[in-house]
């Protein structure tokens, strides 16, 4: 079977549906990054926030026998880490990259420790898929949207809501002002640091949703470091999308589509080493970022604490 033949036989709708699923945690990280960084706080700790949420989601969902309770707990855990990151970055004016790195290391350490100490044998209850027997059978749309994880739906809604919030509401206007020229916001009577805290917390909540995807949708159990750098890929998507929700979301597909395609090719027996396959998103991240970083314009006050 030659490649052209395979390419003709691939179900591209199915492929896109798979890419959308794979993009969900990455997009949550990207959206989280957008809120934090638009307000001027670098958030390199999204990865760690996702990881701790994945763990807490798993553990609490098992204990409470409820995925919903697990989800809330996971988001809360990620927000606690986000609050700490905010405290370091805003109040104590630590270098924000260092603070984010600390968050990542802490999350990796504590979840790894708890995993070893408490184990993870039981399966967590899954969050439901959004599935509708009738809508599901609509061609294309049915496969893309109506048999998909709940959190993917949430993610799509958040993409739209985030766009409206950032560009059409007073909250968004203030957030952007605080991230661009905090002094101007301050002289206009806007509490700069409070805006920053709240946006960092939002960013934690979104990362928490992303982390939940791993344990409540994908595998129903926890393994150490299971977020495997997807928070960082989310940051790349955020940069690629110029700190704007819809372009950042589209950028996540740029990273996940080729992987989904490679998976299909492999299924059809095209000899692709799986090692290459699993490296693909990371490789693409590097390549795209190298091409785009110089053209992107981060918020002007990004990484600078506000001192009166």
């Amino acid at each position: 079977m030659d490649l052209v033949d395979v390419l003709l036989r691939i179900d591209y709708v199915f492929l896109l549906a798979a890419a959308l699923r794979a993009a969900t945690p990455i997009a949550f990280a990207a959206l989280g990054g957008i809120f934090s960084e638009r307000a001027g706080v670098i958030n390199i700790g999204l990865e760690g926030m996702m990881l701790i949420s994945a763990y807490v989601c798993y553990r609490v969902a098992v204990l409470a026998a409820s995925p919903a309770v697990g989800l809330v707990a996971g988001m809360a855990a990620a927000m606690v880490l986000a609050g700490l990151h905010g405290l370091f970055s805003i109040r104590y004016q630590t270098n924000q990259v260092v603070s984010g790195t600390v968050v990542n290391i802490f999350a990796a350490g504590i979840t790894g420790f708890l995993f070893r100490a408490l184990g993870a044998q039981e399966s967590a209850p899954y969050l439901p898929n959004i599935s509708h027997p009738l809508l599901k059978s609509i061609p294309v749309i049915g496969t893309l949207l109506f048999d998909q994880p709940l959190l993917m739906w949430v993610m799509l809604i958040v993409v739209v809501v985030a766009t409206v919030v950032l560009f059409r509401t007073p909250w968004g206007l203030r957030t952007r002002a605080v991230g661009e020229l905090p002094r101007a916001a301050d002289t206009a009577g806007i509490p700069v640091n409070r805006m920053r805290y709240l946006n960092v917390l939002i960013s934690g909540a979104l990362a928490g949703l992303g982390g939940a995807f791993f344990t409540l949708h994908t595998v129903s159990t926890f393994t150490p470091l299971m977020t495997s750098g997807q928070g960082f890929i989310g940051l790349a998507a955020m940069i690629f999308g110029n700190w704007t929700p819809i372009p950042a979301f589209l950028a996540t597909l740029l990273f996940t589509l080729p992987q989904a395609l490679a998976g299909q090719l492999q299924m059809f027996g095209v000899p692709l080493p799986y090692q290459l396959l699993s490296t693909l998103p990371y490789l693409l991240t590097i390549i795209t970022l190298a091409g785009v970083v110089r053209r992107s314009t981060p918020p002007a006050a990004l990484g600078t604490p506000y001192v009166k």
């Binding site: 007073p170 206007l173 203030r174 002002a177 661009e180 020229l181 101007a184 002289t187 206009a188 806007i190």
Partner: protein, 504 residues
């Protein structure tokens, strides 16, 4: 107890910062519909006083009375609510937002959950018409020239119903024509009952616009007067505390051979725009060539190319007929170029290093300051002592971190370092920015002395007065080109002002 026409009164305002008494029992009253100028040098306490009025600082003592009522102002929000508006020296406008968004920021109107921009835009247009402040509410601030940005700031204050408008050094960034238009705006404002506090250190402007003048020095009010009562020289000596010679004393230039030759230089700015579109000129030994122009028309890039800080795209820089290797400040230094950079903190000094080290920054690698790869502390210190004496740098001792000194003394240190080497060419960019009047006088005198000793001097300044006072020849830059040349003795301000606007 206040007179009815007094809108604002500040009584006994005192503010202490660690080691400095920034405001020492300052009294100030502002009448309805007047322009009240607050005149003083950098560090005299003008900005501190206004930041207290605007709620950015809290005073240690003193009272603020508005319309006969005592008020306390804890934050800009309080100040805005009381009808106090402020146009800061560095505009408080977010470049990536539109004019409307900037104006309504913090005071947004909503339609449901969403932002309503249509209603505020109507009001902005109304204010625009009423006061003759032409602005486009939908333009992005980053696309507007500074003069227009300042108008946006004024409209922003009026949109917040400001009755008292504070302008902090509003003319620092404007061309002479823009200054004229600002002044007519201010006159329109006071006619409609707005009261204006005009902060400045420029005597000419204060005399032109103010109804009353209050002079501050070292945190105290040294006197109040009116433009009719006090001449420029008198105001200057009030500011400085001693008689000041405002006119630079210099004899006609005796130009010698060409020292610096700039040939068709093209260069990009940091933002990758063409900043220099082919610039050529010569500077001869024994003459001062001044480059006038509104900032951002390529002067920065030109100086950087000449001094080896920026790689040109095309063209050549010749020093005494020899091409200078591009992008090598050390080659330029070694061949007799001295440079007073425009951004002192970025290129002039290392703020955390001692005064003594800063005084040898360009020659520390050569004897006597360095031998066998080791710095010679004694030589560096004795060099510092000599220069501190000669250039009148006021510092507690030579090993104090230079960042702790005042702007004027830092700048004198830069001048001292650059003048302590044999000098064929002096490139002086904004040499008196952020420097007190006393130091300005001193630096100007040294620049003229360097010329008389046979150095070629290239002076770049955004202060037209400085260019007019020092230059033997004036070149005007606009849009990355030299658009005109005038003789320094016969040049007229208005003429140069037009050239600076690109109106040839």
């Amino acid at each position: 107890m206040t007179r009815p026409d007094v809108v604002l009164e500040m009584r006994g305002i005192t503010k202490r910062f660690p080691g400095v008494l920034a405001n020492d029992h300052i009294n100030l009253d502002l009448r309805k519909g007047e322009v009240h100028a607050l005149l003083g040098e950098n560090g005299a306490g003008k900005s501190t006083l206004m930041n207290i009025l605007y709620g950015l600082y809290q005073p240690d003592a003193g009272e603020i009375w508005l319309d006969g009522r005592r008020v306390t102002i804890h934050s800009p929000r309080d100040a805005i609510a009381l009808g106090i508006g402020m146009v800061h020296q560095h505009f408080m406008l977010v470049p990536t937002l539109t004019v409307t968004e900037n104006i309504i920021l913090g005071l947004e109107t909503r339609r449901g959950l969403l932002l309503d921009e249509a209603t505020p835009q109507q009001r902005i247009r109304q204010i625009s018409r009423d006061f003759g402040l032409e602005i486009d509410p939908e333009a992005y601030v980053k696309d507007l020239p500074v003069g227009v940005q300042q108008r946006v700031e004024i409209v922003k204050a009026l949109y917040r119903n400001a009755r008292v408008l504070v302008l902090d050094e509003p003319t620092a960034v404007l061309t002479p024509l823009e200054v004229e238009s600002l002044f007519s705006t201010l006159r329109a404002l006071v006619k409609r009952g707005v009261s204006v506090i005009f902060i400045s250190h420029k005597l000419k402007e204060v005399k032109a616009i103010a109804d009353r003048i209050t002079v501050l020095r070292q945190g105290r009010v040294v006197g109040s007067t009116t433009p009719a009562e006090a001449g420029e020289a008198q105001l200057a000596s009030m500011m400085v505390g001693r008689p000041v010679i405002l006119k630079v004393d210099k004899s006609p230039a005796q130009p010698g051979p060409v020292v610096l030759s700039v040939r068709d230089v093209k260069a990009m700015s940091d933002r990758r725009a063409m900043a220099l579109q082919g610039v050529s000129f010569d500077v001869r030994a024994g003459e001062i060539v001044g480059i006038a122009g509104v900032e951002g028309n390529g002067q920065t890039e030109l100086v950087e190319v000449i001094t080896g800080l920026r790689q040109p795209l095309a063209g050549q820089v010749l020093l005494c007929g020899q091409p200078l290797p591009a992008w090598s400040p050390r080659a330029a230094i070694d061949r007799g170029m001295s440079h007073i950079p425009e951004d002192r903190y970025k290129y002039g000094i290392v703020a955390a290093y001692s005064l003594a080290i800063n005084l040898v920054l360009s020659v520390f690698h050569r004897p006597p300051f360095s031998r066998n790869g080791l710095l010679q502390r004694r030589a560096i210190l004795s060099n510092a002592e000599r220069l501190v004496e000669e250039f009148d740098i006021r510092a507690p001792h030579a090993e104090v971190p230079i960042g702790k000194l005042s702007g004027g003394n830092q700048q004198k240190a830069v001048v001292a370092r650059e003048f302590s080497r044999p000098m064929k060419l002096l490139v002086a960019a904004q040499p008196t920015r952020g420097v007190d009047v006393g130091s300005i006088e001193f630096i100007h005198k040294r620049i003229v002395q360097a010329r008389d000793a046979g150095a070629a001097v290239l002076l770049v300044s955004a202060e037209l007065d400085e260019i007019m006072a020092l230059s033997d020849r004036i070149l005007v830059m606009f849009g990355g080109r030299i658009v005109g040349e005038r003789d320094g003795r016969t040049a007229r301000r208005e003429d140069i002002g037009l050239l600076m606007m690109g109106k040839v």
